[in-house]
């Protein structure tokens, strides 16, 4: 085997993935029987646009020319996409990148808080369960974690929407920003945004169940280690042991889980944003799907892929810095 630095290999793998998704979308758009371009042209002709004109319009929007030879079309498509040209949205009439760039920050806002809070809860609960392993608290919290893992987040989202929003009016029932407030750094606007994002964030907290079970397992493993017995024999205080010895070692493997769950949540944001009518990345992708706005749909798919690939790449590249033991083995 060539001894290439593993970071270079990992980067290559990320690039390979993005390329694979790019190619996959090209295949779906251009080559599938009953493909996207054909569907768009038929749709436009049905709306009374003559076939020739429809073809031109589709070409304009998709950055793929249906008449070019396969390889040329593929080459142009890849170059266009790499330059950030994802085509033009049929429904909004704007470039896909503009539509999605406006939506991305909102999704990132919700997801980053959801990930942060759910892991904070998960790690705390998991540590508690491990500390009182086998006790009443452990059994109780394990049942909680199992229940949390068994509720799909969208079920919780709908229930929250019904009760906290429609029944008791504690939270707004949709949208992403307060109506009538000036966008900017003022208290009304900022608190309004948080108010709107609260329910989506809370719905995502079901992820804390899985995280806490993972943390529990890690902590129990660490608690059984010999060096912990030695630490106790040395007469170190419980606080030192729990923070310096157990917590540190048990939290480390959670780092990878955390970044992977960001990827899962990005996928989940499609459903989440539909429930709350929260206009983020997922909402646009879904509405594009329903309106057969294929450039926007495939663009959303590309952006989500990029986000996940980047997150996982960061996880792998930085894990060595977080956990020095991993650096030695890699």
């Amino acid at each position: 085997m060539l001894t290439v630095d593993w970071r270079v290999r990992r980067l290559g793998q990320a690039v390979f993935t993005v390329w694979a998704v790019l190619t996959l979308s090209f295949v779906l758009i251009r080559m599938m029987p009953g493909n996207i371009m054909g569907a768009m042209i038929t749709r436009m002709t049905q709306q009374g646009i003559n076939p020739g004109r429809a073809r031109e319009l589709v070409e304009l929007r998709m950055t793929i020319d249906p008449d070019e030879p396969l390889l040329t079309a593929y080459g142009n498509y890849v170059v266009d996409t790499l330059q950030g040209n994802l085509g033009q949205s049929v429904y909004y009439g704007e470039p896909v990148t503009d539509v999605l760039a406006g939506a991305l920050p909102w999704t990132l806002f919700v997801l980053s808080w959801a990930v942060f809070i759910s892991f904070f809860i998960g790690i705390t609960v998991g540590a508690l369960m491990a500390y009182w392993e086998g006790g009443k608290l452990d059994v109780g919290l394990t049942s909680y974690a199992v229940l949390m893992g068994s509720i799909p987040f969208y079920v919780l989202a709908i229930l929250l929407l019904i009760f906290l929003s429609y029944r008791y009016g504690l939270f707004p029932n949709g949208g992403r920003q307060p109506i009538g407030a000036d966008p900017g750094f003022n208290l009304v606007y900022i608190s309004g945004i948080i108010h709107h994002a609260a329910l989506p964030i809370i719905s995502m907290l079901v992820a804390s169940g899985v995280a806490s079970l993972g943390m529990r397992g890690n902590s129990i493993r660490v608690l059984g280690e010999d060096y912990l017995r030695v630490a106790r024999l040395r007469g170190l205080s419980d606080i030192t042991i729990s923070t310096q010895y157990v917590a540190r070692n048990a939290v480390l493997p959670m780092y990878t889980t955390l970044l992977i769950s960001i990827g899962e949540m990005f996928g989940g944001s499609i459903v989440l944003e539909q429930v709350f009518q929260y206009r983020g990345l997922g909402w646009y992708m879904l509405s594009a799907t329903h309106q057969r706005d294929y450039p926007l749909m495939m663009g959303g798919f590309m952006i989500i892929t990029l986000a996940i690939v980047t997150a996982l790449l960061l996880a792998d590249l930085t894990y060595g810095y977080v956990d020095p033991r991993a650096r030695r083995t890699q």
Partner: protein, 380 residues
């Protein structure tokens, strides 16, 4: 090393139950003379000439099979409260999906009054939706569909994941590089959006075919399992029993699938239940979003209709959401609990204590009680 001790307990065991005289004779002889003398005066000590010490009748074999695959798993499972609940729930759904569909008639539009609340009308126990369709009937009839998706999805996910991971880990080299790259691509691709796009493309093939939905959902789900299996394979292939199998000239796929994979069984089985749960979540989400076409109502499309009809904003329509939701959450609790406890069934050290006819191949089986408890405690 412990050749005498397990076989003597075995023979004592056989003595009581076995009616076959031949095997009794053999075992008796084995008990009295330790090393059989070859009649032709050949080298007695050569291990290659020793014939099996006692014969197994067909009935013995069936009893062992029953013991290993039915009695031991069920008795271990039944000792664990999680499994008792989990198994009951899953069986309940299986019954609903098979017998229930025969007992409950399918429902039609304007069959009953609109939005009857649950437990008010004896004819519509779980109430009706805005178009007067019985919710109990909707739920029961969609159970069969969802179970078909779960079975095909879980089997596909675990099948692909295990096969790819095992081959990549065992073969190594170029095969590993190629398979691992493919696996990594599938891990990195966002699963739900991919399934959504594919579902839209192949909506014709999916309509009215729950098995196809399961297969579709497995496309994006097998990557993680394949990677985990591969890394376990890397350590397992260095074990001495693998080297022995290779020395005996076994074929690669026999070694991988007959010798090594059984060691990974706990992991594979837990993933089977996890994959099943994932299929339910994703399938319901896709139907809820209205992306997959459907002929008959299922839990997801019921949720979709409820949302479209603004049931969340109306008073008195809450049950329209709650009925399918309870169905989803309940089965996934069952699958979670079952997965956790199945871990113990396939853990060979735990099961050895429960099997009556423990095979002598595992000499550690009885002596390892102390480590068992540790395993069980950590293995949740």
């Amino acid at each position: 090393m412990t050749r005498e001790s397990p076989s003597s307990t075995e023979s004592a065991d056989d003595h009581e139950t076995n009616t076959d005289t031949k095997s009794t004779l053999k075992t008796e002889r084995n008990g009295t003379t330790d090393r059989p003398v070859a009649t032709d005066g050949g080298n007695v000590n050569s291990p290659f000439e020793v014939v099996s010490e006692f014969e197994e009748t067909r009935r013995d074999r069936y009893r062992k099979l029953y013991d290993a695959y039915v009695y031991a798993p069920v008795s271990i499972i039944w000792r664990d409260w999680r499994a008792r609940i989990g198994l009951t729930i899953v069986l309940l759904y299986l019954l609903t999906g098979t017998v229930g569909t025969m007992l409950v008639e399918p429902t039609n539009v304007t069959e009953g009054p609109a939005l009857v609340n649950p437990f008010e009308n004896a004819e519509y126990i779980l109430g009706t939706d805005a178009q007067g369709r019985d919710l109990l009937s909707q739920t029961v009839h969609s159970t069969a569909t969802i179970l078909k998706m779960v079975v095909s999805g879980a089997v596909c996910t675990v099948g692909i994941g295990t096969t790819v991971g095992a081959i990549a880990g065992y073969k190594g080299g170029m095969v590993d590089t190629v398979l691992s790259s493919i696996t990594d691509v599938f891990i990195n691709i966002p699963g739900f959006p991919l399934v959504m796009v594919l579902g839209l493309m192949f909506s014709d093939a999916i309509l009215g075919n729950p098995y196809a939905v399961g297969v579709l959902l497995s496309v994006a789900a097998w990557g993680g399992l394949a990677r985990a299996i591969r890394s376990q394979m890397l350590t397992l292939r260095e074990e001495s029993f693998v080297e022995a199998s290779q020395a005996m000239g076994m074929r690669t796929h026999t070694i991988v699938f007959k010798e090594i994979i059984p060691h990974l069984m706990p992991y594979v089985v837990i993933n089977l239940t996890n994959a099943g749960r994932r299929v339910i979540f994703e399938a319901v989400a896709l139907y809820y979003l209205g992306i997959l076409p459907f002929e008959n109502l299922n839990w997801g499309s019921t949720l979709n209709l409820a949302y479209e009809a603004n049931a969340h904003a109306r008073p008195g329509a809450l049950h329209w959401f709650l009925v399918p939701m309870v169905a989803i959450v309940f089965i996934s609790i069952g699958l979670t609990l079952l997965g956790q406890s199945l871990d113990r069934v396939f853990n060979p050290r735990v099961r050895a204590r429960h099997e009556k006819t423990t095979s002598p191949a595992d000499p550690e089986g009885d002596s390892d009680d102390t480590t068992n408890t540790n395993d069980m405690m950590g293995g949740i």
